[in-house]
Symmetry: C2
């Protein structure tokens, strides 16, 4: 392998191109508007950087996923360790997700909707608002993104607890619940439950009717991770019975669109909360490129057996 | 003067009573449902704790205002230093105000209203949301409350600047603009402008048509301090011309109610963002009572010549 090696990149925003070409003037970089457009160029590339590629196109040396989630690739990764799969550092995306989560929580507690309804009816009435400081907020998934969410909510005065598959020291939450046996006790304490989990065989539909049954009545669910960790038909049932007070979803299993759209207890946004900002993610790629070039350990290498 | 001295308190929530009576078992405390109800009991009281009293009822020794603002009393305070006027520490109220301010900002940037409108129309469309990290946020008033607001917004990644009547070292903001000559330069930089000022002769109607003219087009105004610092007819004009993009008001000059209510660019809430929470404010009163009893310096003594 001779450096510089060709790189193939999709999602070619102008700024992304400029940052990469400036930093790697000697590298042959193919830019494509989409994974499909990139197909012919993949032949000459040893490194692939982007998202939305099907696994069979990735028989290269190194694939850097643009994004923190790799469920689309890891589930049927046929290359073992022959092709290195890396992902984007969640902390580079996390701060914007934190903002979305805070917005979703305060959207309910601050009751601006009540204010505006009274205004539109020309009525003047006193009402009280809630506070994040009175809430127990659970974060399911304490990776880079979940930990950051927990830390900021704790700084704002919430009582924050967390759930994770395996034990971890995490100072961003008051208590960590560990593994599937503790999931019910975890959700039982939450006024707000934030899903920040990777999608794996174990987390698919993890939040199903059985788990929702153990949630506090009127719980506010917020999903910023992967749609398929939440069983959407169980969610719709939960909205009907009042078990779920509100759900704010930035991700969803596509099958649920039509029914999800009509439930008044559900606010959906079109996967907007963790944008990939070139100024943040390109330097991360460049650090990995430098490591790759010098044979050092790259960062955020995916363990494809765990699927994240 | 012999201790314990009688205390008169209005706004007698159960918890307030319980906390006070438990802490001061030997003090004769009169509880009244309102300032008017308290009038007969005032005869026997040397200390008054509460709010909404007219100045002529306060010829006692010490008045502790329940609340951080004292404009209702300080403007015509006839007692000089003969009656000590103290107020509540703004930090005890500030954290809830910070939450309101964040909610108001994210209410605009996160665009849940767009999401819900699209849902109600059964439409699926991509849209982008904004971020607090892209905003320059100005805080007018860098007292206990304004500083806390600045600090938290800065932690969330906003570019925060401040304005104050007199120079101050304030690490919660990037830059402090000082005095009336710098007010125009200050507002010119703000995407969001938060008013956290005391009401004094100098600040009354300070944010008038002339100042609004120097604001960025589409500015988001948030008033959590005192309504009368903002000239409401100038605000309504600003909404009409587009100079003001939105205003979120938790306080207002009463005269403006009817017209303010009908402007779609204005969200008003009924003075809910700085509730006086007994568990927080009673200990503050008790510390002052202990100082009063032992002849030590009380905290948060109002300089009535400055009116705050």
């Amino acid at each position: 392998l001779r450096f510089p090696v060709p790189v193939c990149l999709n999602s070619p925003r102008d700024l992304t191109r400029r940052l990469l070409s400036t930093a790697l003037p000697d590298v042959e970089i193919h830019y494509a508007g989409s994974a499909t457009e990139a197909t012919p160029q993949l032949e000459r590339s040893q490194i692939v950087y982007g998202w939305g590629f099907s696994v069979d196109l990735l028989r290269r040396i190194w694939m850097q996923k643009m994004g923190a989630g790799v469920d689309d690739l890891a589930e049927e990764w046929p290359f073992g360790s022959k092709v290195v799969l890396t992902r984007t550092d969640g902390r580079l995306i996390g701060t914007r997700m934190v903002e979305y989560v805070i917005a979703a929580i305060l959207d309910k507690t601050s009751r601006f909707d009540v204010a505006r309804r009274l205004q539109s009816e020309r009525r003047w009435e006193y009402f009280e608002i809630g506070s994040i400081q009175d809430l127990c907020i659970g974060v399911a998934g304490l990776g880079e993104i979940g930990s950051e969410i927990g830390r900021v909510l704790r700084d704002l005065g919430a009582d924050v607890i967390g759930w994770r598959r395996s034990p971890v020291d995490c100072s961003s939450v008051r208590q960590v619940f560990v593994g599937f046996p503790e999931l019910h006790s975890f959700v039982r304490e939450c006024d707000v439950l934030i899903l920040a989990l990777p999608l794996t065989q174990e987390t698919k539909n993890l939040f199903n009717a059985e788990v929702l049954k153990h949630c506090r009545r009127g719980i506010h669910l917020i999903n910023v991770g992967r749609g398929a960790v939440l069983d959407e038909s169980a969610l719709l049932d939960g909205c009907e019975t009042g078990r779920v007070g509100h759900a704010t979803l930035d991700v969803f299993a596509l099958a649920g669109y039509s029914s999800v759209l009509v439930a008044p207890q559900i606010t959906i946004t079109p996967h907007v909360c963790g944008p990939l900002i070139p100024e943040r993610i390109i330097p991360h790629f460049l650090r990995n490129y430098a490591a790759f070039e010098t044979g050092k350990q790259m960062q955020h290498v995916v363990d494809v057996s765990r699927q994240y």
